[in-house]
């Protein structure tokens, strides 16, 4: 008995949706089995997870605010990565670009925050972060264009360079190091929340919406139109499908690559400026892994900008909700969220496979 993999015609939209829903349900079922095996009631756990523990919570508005703080950097990073991925430029360097942006925006806050009006400082922080992250990405783009280096390896390795730069800043007590508190015997990052912090608006009640959330949505819309309706957006798609075709059509491929890589990395820088501009402090875990998770989100969303927003929302519910749910179950630690995320991703990819292909049994002697 033999099997063949056969490409499937694109089924109707609802059918494809069904596959994905089945995949997520199956992943949750796997999670439920694991939960039950360590003596946790899965229904109780999932209830807490999907409601993020807000039911019967006196400060539920805080949960939503913290949720959005996780959501903004993730969705923006993922949107940025999707720009490069559309061009088949494998930017695995989200973490490093995010860190470089974060350091640059903190630098601006410390150097100029005390003299400039807050709004101006914040704008400069965004620009500095975009520039720093953009250049950090552009270097890799230039090397690829000039010498044909592998961008996957380059961006990947530069992540660790950036991370260790951040560690160095975070652990080195010295006179030059204005990033750290001067009066603490141990190295602790200094806060700049008082001189540079993105404002929040009250929407009635105690819930406050941070301006970065609104900006992120606007940027999402802009990127959507950029990709769909502009010449540059079209070029990205053509280069992604075939660089030679693009060349033949008279496009300047190198220029498009460099421009897009810079834009992708700069948007990641903006995400980091939003992050540190909200928290008002650096940290060695400032990225919260968005450079990695953003890749997962971009692929789960099939690089569609609106879908990236939807998937980011769901992944954040999963991440934030699991942490909250784990609080009241002594057997479950927060690593469980990571594992469940892995299972979901794996099964969604399996579903994705079955959307595009089907497996056909080939009878002995029969022709396929």
């Amino acid at each position: 008995m033999r099997f063949h993999i056969v490409k499937r015609d694109n089924g109707p939209f609802w059918q494809r949706c069904c596959y994905y829903v089945v995949a997520v349900v199956a992943a949750l079922a796997v999670g439920a089995i694991i939960l039950a095996s360590i003596g946790v009631n899965p229904f109780e756990y999932y209830y807490k997870m999907f409601t993020m523990g807000t039911v019967g919570n006196k400060i539920a508005y805080k949960t939503f605010m913290n949720y959005l703080k996780e959501f903004v950097p993730l969705v923006l990073t993922s949107v940025a990565l999707s720009l490069a991925f559309k061009m088949r430029f494998w930017n695995i360097g989200g973490e490093g670009q995010f860190i470089m942006g974060a350091i640059a925006s903190a630098w601006v806050a410390f150097q100029f925050g005390a003299y400039l009006p807050m709004a101006v400082t914040l704008i400069f922080m965004c620009l500095a972060a975009m520039l720093a992250a953009g250049i950090y990405g552009l270097v890799v783009g230039a090397l690829k264009v000039k010498f044909g280096t592998n961008e996957t390896l380059m961006t990947l390795m530069l992540n660790y360079v950036a991370l260790y730069v951040l560690y160095f800043i975070g652990e080195t007590k010295a006179d030059w190091n204005f990033f750290l508190q001067a009066d603490s015997a141990r190295p602790v990052f200094e806060s700049f929340a008082e001189i540079a912090q993105f404002p929040s608006f009250s929407l009635g009640g105690k819930f406050e919406l941070n301006i970065t959330v609104i900006l992120t949505v606007i940027i999402g819309v802009l990127v959507f139109f950029y990709l769909k309706y502009t010449k540059q957006g079209y070029e990205i798609g053509v280069v992604g499908d075939s660089a030679n075709t693009a060349k033949y059509a008279g496009m300047k491929v190198n220029k498009i690559v460099l421009r897009t890589v810079f834009l992708s990395a700069a948007l990641i820088g903006l995400a980091s400026a939003f992050k540190v501009g909200t928290s008002g402090v650096l940290s060695t875990s400032v990225t919260n892994d968005v450079g990695w998770t953003g890749i997962i989100v971009a692929w789960l969303a099939k690089l569609s900008t609106p879908m990236i927003f939807v998937v980011s929302m769901l992944i954040c519910v999963l991440q934030h909700g699991s942490t909250v749910a784990a609080v009241s179950f002594s057997q479950v630690d927060s690593s469980f969220a990571n594992m469940l995320q892995g299972v979901i991703l794996f099964l969604v990819l399996v579903a994705d496979f079955f959307v595009r292909f089907r497996i056909v049994r080939v009878k002995k002697g029969g022709n396929d």
């Binding site: 805080k62 060695t284 784990a326 630690d333």
Partner: protein, 396 residues
């Protein structure tokens, strides 16, 4: 009249029952929150030590760990993430939040102002306020001094004056410097010729180098005893592999290296956690610091907050007696480690003699830190600014 007395007694009983009721209620409603740097399911290491302390304390107080303990674990030292973890715990209605990692310091300070009805208690930190925010740490140097006595006696027996010390950091942190110095002074009380060689990891936990550095101290510096200030038992295992001896840290490491380990300086975190929870249950959040008596809990041998683990069979006869006698001096408050009074410990036929003598406490560059006969250096120095090694200690 009898009726009246009966009525009175009945009323009294009612009142007292009511009182009992309310305190039981306070107990049943009491919720403990904790923020950990690693997983609550760890089976060794720093987070494990605290988690065990919290759960033991709750059991001693009759609290239900399953229902009354709320933990956010694997929280990095990132202010925003710590604040989010605090929001989560406050949302669950906890009465007290323990944060065990130093880097939580600013988040806890900010949250203490934001949530005045909740008590914040920060391990290893130094910040506090006058109402609902304190910090806690212990005199580990006292326990290390006692383990140093065990090491010193062993060095006399083996005739090897070189003692190694695998440390997370050296003079960069008062915590590590005071531990190294406390241990070295304990060794020197027995063996004045002993030298302590310190090898720094540059990280609080690094299992590979913990083992490698111990081996280097043994092979290149001829050390016959390996002490440590790091997370795992690797240095003790390395000592056993090289047929030398060692003093562990954090937990009794005799099971890890039964042929090498002498005794370990250990923490009894439950001592503090029990005191803190008991106090918190009996007062408003705003009274917590007043009721605790100090914003910076700093327990030592006296409170049984730090100790040495049971001595192994590898210890020299008389070690037990020597440690007992020195411990008594410390517990009674008659003497402390970093003072201008030096102890000399000698053992003959399993009986220890401890004598006091005034002597300068000097650093390893020859500067006098405490003049002969002077009082102990201040706690603030031991926890915050001790950035030197005492004489006889050098970095390897």
């Amino acid at each position: 009249m009898k009726k009246f007395i009966a009525l009175f007694l009945a009323a009294l009983m009612l009142v007292s029952f009511a009182a009992c009721d309310s305190s039981d209620d306070a107990k049943a409603d009491f919720k403990v929150g904790a923020i950990y740097i690693n997983s609550k399911n760890d089976t060794a290491g720093y987070t494990f030590a605290h988690h065990s302390g919290i759960t033991e304390a709750m059991e001693q107080l009759g609290l239900d760990v399953e229902k009354q303990l709320f933990i956010v674990d694997e929280v990095p030292e990132d202010k925003e993430r710590v604040l989010a973890a605090i929001d989560t715990l406050v949302g669950q209605g906890v009465d007290i939040i323990f944060g065990i990692s130093f880097g939580y310091i600013d988040a806890m300070e900010e949250a203490a102002t934001k949530y005045p009805d909740v008590i914040f208690s920060h391990g290893t930190g130094y910040k506090s306020n006058e109402t609902n925010f304190n910090n806690y740490f212990g005199r580990a140097y006292q326990a290390r001094y006692l383990s140093g006595i065990a090491a010193g006696l062993k060095s006399l027996e083996t005739g090897n004056n070189n003692v190694g010390y695998v440390a997370a950091y050296g003079t960069e942190y008062a915590e590590t410097a005071s531990g190294i110095n406390g241990f070295a002074l304990g060794v020197q009380a027995v063996n004045p010729d002993a030298k302590v060689y310190v090898k720094k990891l540059g990280a609080w936990a690094d299992e590979v180098n913990e083992s490698a550095f111990a081996k280097e101290l043994i092979n290149s510096f001829g050390c016959g005893i390996i002490a440590q200030h790091c997370d795992s038992a690797q240095p003790q295992i390395a000592a056993q592999g090289a047929n030398v001896f060692g003093c562990g840290y954090n937990s009794d490491m005799t099971p890890d290296a039964p042929k090498a380990h002498l005794t370990a300086a250990i923490w009894n975190w439950d001592v503090y956690y029990k005191t803190a929870m008991e106090t918190a249950m009996g007062c408003e959040a705003s009274e917590f610091v007043t009721k605790m008596g100090t914003p910076a809990y700093y327990g030592g041998l006296k409170e049984n907050f730090v100790d040495v683990s049971p001595l192994s069979e590898n210890c020299v006869a008389g070690t037990e007696d020597a440690i007992k006698k020195v411990r008594e001096l410390i517990v009674k408050g008659e003497w402390d480690v970093f003072s201008g009074v030096k102890l000399s410990v000698t053992v003959a036929d399993g009986v220890a003699t401890v004598t006091k003598a005034d002597a300068d406490l000097k650093d390893n560059a020859g500067n006098v830190i405490v003049a002969a006969g002077g009082a102990s250096v201040e706690d603030g120095v031991i926890t915050g600014t001790m950035n030197y090694y005492v004489a006889g200690v050098q970095e390897a």
